[in-house]
């Protein structure tokens, strides 16, 4: 193993004999002749439009209206169980709906989650230009498995401070050490005659709730 390491690094060094070894990458920044963003106004509307374009269902609500809205979304699907991450604000949860709520304490297995109807989370950041929600396993988002196995994901975005315009802006906010999932619409495939079909393995229904800061 060590031998191959030395072998490969040795091959690289001899392949690069033409490169001045005194040259250091840090001293020659590459030209970044592109925009930091392509837009800076109307981000919530743009996010909604792009999410809808990729067949996510977008809803708007004041924070106080969340429990009612979420209750309706669950009822519409006949969801009997809802999984939530440990740090989800409890005042988002629907009241006395018929849905059983499972608080993930880190012990739910994939097989158990496979029997869960829906999952409700927040997000770390949302990107308006691309219609993307980024989850970074924060307390209101939970383990990656949680938002993957159930067939229905409801994701709440705070429009006041969580929406950025662009990919560069999102990356600056995110910590690479945290495992991330970037979600742009529900699971899809174009593998059969290039028809976009929702839902192969991830949640086939994605509801996004944009909440205005109250």
């Amino acid at each position: 193993m060590t031998d191959s390491r030395d072998l490969i690094l040795g091959r690289i060094r001899s392949a690069l004999v033409g490169v001045d070894r005194a040259e250091h990458p840090a001293n020659e920044p590459v030209a970044r002749d592109y925009h930091d963003s392509h837009t800076d106004t109307g981000l919530a509307n743009l996010l909604a439009r792009n999410l809808t374009d990729y067949r996510a269902h977008v809803h708007r609500a004041a924070e106080a209206e969340l429990p009612g809205l979420i209750g309706r979304l669950l009822a519409a699907r006949g969801a009997r169980t809802l999984a939530v991450p440990p740090g989800l604000p409890t005042d988002w949860l629907p009241g006395d709906s018929g849905t059983r709520i499972l608080h993930d304490d880190g012990t739910l297995t994939a097989t158990e989650l496979d029997r869960v109807d829906s999952v409700l989370t927040g997000c770390a950041v949302a990107i308006a230009e691309t219609g993307t929600l980024v989850l970074d396993a924060g307390p209101d988002q939970g383990r990656r498995m949680l938002t993957l196995v159930p067939d229905h994901h409801i994701c709440v975005v705070r429009t006041g401070d969580q929406i950025v315009a662009s990919v560069p802006q999102a990356l600056r906010r995110l910590d690479p050490e945290r495992p991330q999932t970037w979600i742009s619409g529900p699971s899809a495939t174009s593998d059969i005659e290039l028809n976009r079909v929702e839902g192969v393995h991830g949640p086939r229904t994605l509801d996004v709730v944009l909440i205005a800061e109250g």
Binding site: M1, L171, P179, P186, V197, V200, H201, G202
Partner: protein
């Protein structure tokens, strides 16, 4: 790179077979035309595309010029984050490393997310030899695997299959591999996707080991990035206890920030989307979230040879978006299988001969599998000058055979190629030089490759164009 499959016909012969298959041609034409128009629209949305493209090329070039530095940095970062790094000089070594890692877990099954690198090294076959079954989980790869077929496109490997064929494959073979296709399944894409979901879910829930590739490896942080659509990638990266990622050494990018360039370039070039449905990033292992063990296998397998060639080096910028396939008139006509490797289309025509060398007929003929129209360069998000590399490789093939006359002609062609506006001039020049070449020249090796489809053993620079021009003539290939 692994050897050419036994009995693999050289490009022109395989291309001729493909062009005779009208279903395949129709499927391919429909698919490539649809996606190329969508790509153009997705790219047109960004008025700074040219700047992004230039930055993408520059970041990759700079990384390649200091590849040793960045690989060592990546290794240190992955290790610090709890991952283990392995180095594989060639396909056999990579396969051995993966097989040993799987065996160490005591498992005999792995789930896989589509990866060009693992196809390149023939990992599934190598695992099968030691009694380990690898389940492909990408829908298209599943279609290919169940159909005992070969992939024909980087992005949509089953692009050559239509829905009815897919339904028949699922009905016939799903039961042999696990959960059978539902009774009465039609050929509606939605129903086919549902069958795949059920079939594979059982495997995901059971799997203890997953094998993946990666689109990017960030040197400064040790972060790996996988870009996908279906969620099978997320399943593989999240549910199993052990994750093994086989990654070509050219996949490294220096910084987290650099992703801002590639995460804009790749989805729009590849699936013509503002963003693909799912992108996963992970750095080593995370307590209580995802695999407990992570192994990164860094693969050379001919890449350092490409690095050493200053013209060919740009090939290593490739981010496998497949845009060049979708615009290539030759690919559209010939199909992916004609290229005789896992890398079809224009990128395959330059990558395969460099990875494998040009000793076999198919590999020596690949640099000629192009009309040099330049469409691939135009769409390439990292500005790889594929025609330039093709001409360079033709020159090398010719050198290898010592054809002095041709070398001179190709040098002239090289001059013409330096300015894209001269492509047409090149085509005309090629026609003119043909007149001074002997009609019949003894061309052992690659000469034979072409004589299979042509009565005249034409000069290689000419023969593809000639084959191309006559593709619809009676008695030809229609």
């Amino acid at each position: 790179m692994n050897a050419v499959p036994l009995g693999m016909p050289a490009f022109p012969a395989a291309a001729r077979d493909a062009t005779r298959n009208t279903t395949l041609r129709r499927n391919l034409r429909h698919a490539t035309h649809t996606i190329r128009d969508r790509r153009a629209a997705a790219v047109a949305e960004l008025d700074d595309w040219a700047g992004l493209r230039a930055a993408g090329a520059a970041v990759k070039d700079q990384t390649l010029r200091h590849l040793d530095h960045y690989l060592e940095q990546a290794e240190a970062a992955v290790t610090a984050a709890g991952g283990q790094v392995h180095w594989a000089a060639d396909a056999d070594e990579a396969n051995r490393i993966v097989a040993d890692l799987v065996r160490a877990t005591g498992e005999t099954e792995v789930v896989k997310i589509k990866s060009m690198a693992t196809q390149e090294i023939g990992l599934n076959e190598a695992l099968a030899e030691v009694g380990i079954t690898a389940y492909e989980t990408d829908l298209a790869e599943l279609i290919v695997q169940l159909g005992e077929d070969r992939p024909s496109h980087i992005l949509v490997p089953a692009i050559h299959r239509n829905r009815t064929e897919i339904r028949d494959i699922f009905r016939k073979t799903m039961g042999e591999w696990g959960i059978p296709a539902p009774e009465g399944m039609s050929d509606e894409p939605r129903e086919l996707a549902e069958a795949a979901r059920l079939h594979l879910r059982e495997k995901f829930l059971r799997a203890k080991v997953a094998v993946s590739g990666a689109n990017f490896l960030v040197a400064e942080t040790g972060t790996l990035v996988v870009v996908e659509s279906e969620g099978n990638g997320r399943m593989c990266l999240t549910l199993p206890e052990t994750l093994i990622s086989v990654v070509g050494i050219e996949k490294v990018v220096p910084t987290w920030r650099d992703l801002e360039v590639f995460l804009q370039l790749l989805p729009r070039s590849s699936t013509a989307e503002r963003m693909n449905p799912y992108t996963s990033t992970w750095t080593g292992v995370t307590d209580g979230d995802g695999p407990r063990e992570f192994h990164l296998v860094l693969l050379d397998n001919g890449r350092t040879k490409i690095l050493a060639d200053e013209v060919g080096r740009q090939t290593l910028r490739c981010i496998r978006c497949s845009a060049c396939l979708n615009v290539c008139p030759v690919y559209e006509r010939a199909g992916g299988h004609a290229y005789g490797s896992v890398y079809p289309g224009p990128i395959g025509a330059i990558l395969t001969p460099q990875l494998r060398g040009t000793t076999s007929e198919i590999d020596a003929s690949l640099p000629y599998a192009s009309s040099l129209c330049g469409a691939c360069y135009e769409v390439c998000p990292v500005a790889i000058d594929i025609p330039e590399v093709l001409v360079h490789l033709r020159e090398k093939v010719t050198e290898q055979r010592g054809h002095v006359v041709e070398r001179a002609a190709l040098r002239a062609a090289g001059w013409v190629m330096r300015d894209p506006k001269r492509y047409t001039a090149l085509q005309r020049a090629a026609v003119r030089t043909r007149a001074v070449h002997p009609r019949k020249v003894p061309l052992p090796g690659w000469g034979k490759a072409w004589s299979a489809t042509r009565d005249l053993p034409a000069l290689p620079a000419e023969s593809f164009r000639t084959w191309w021009q006559h593709r619809d003539t009676p008695g030809g290939t229609t």
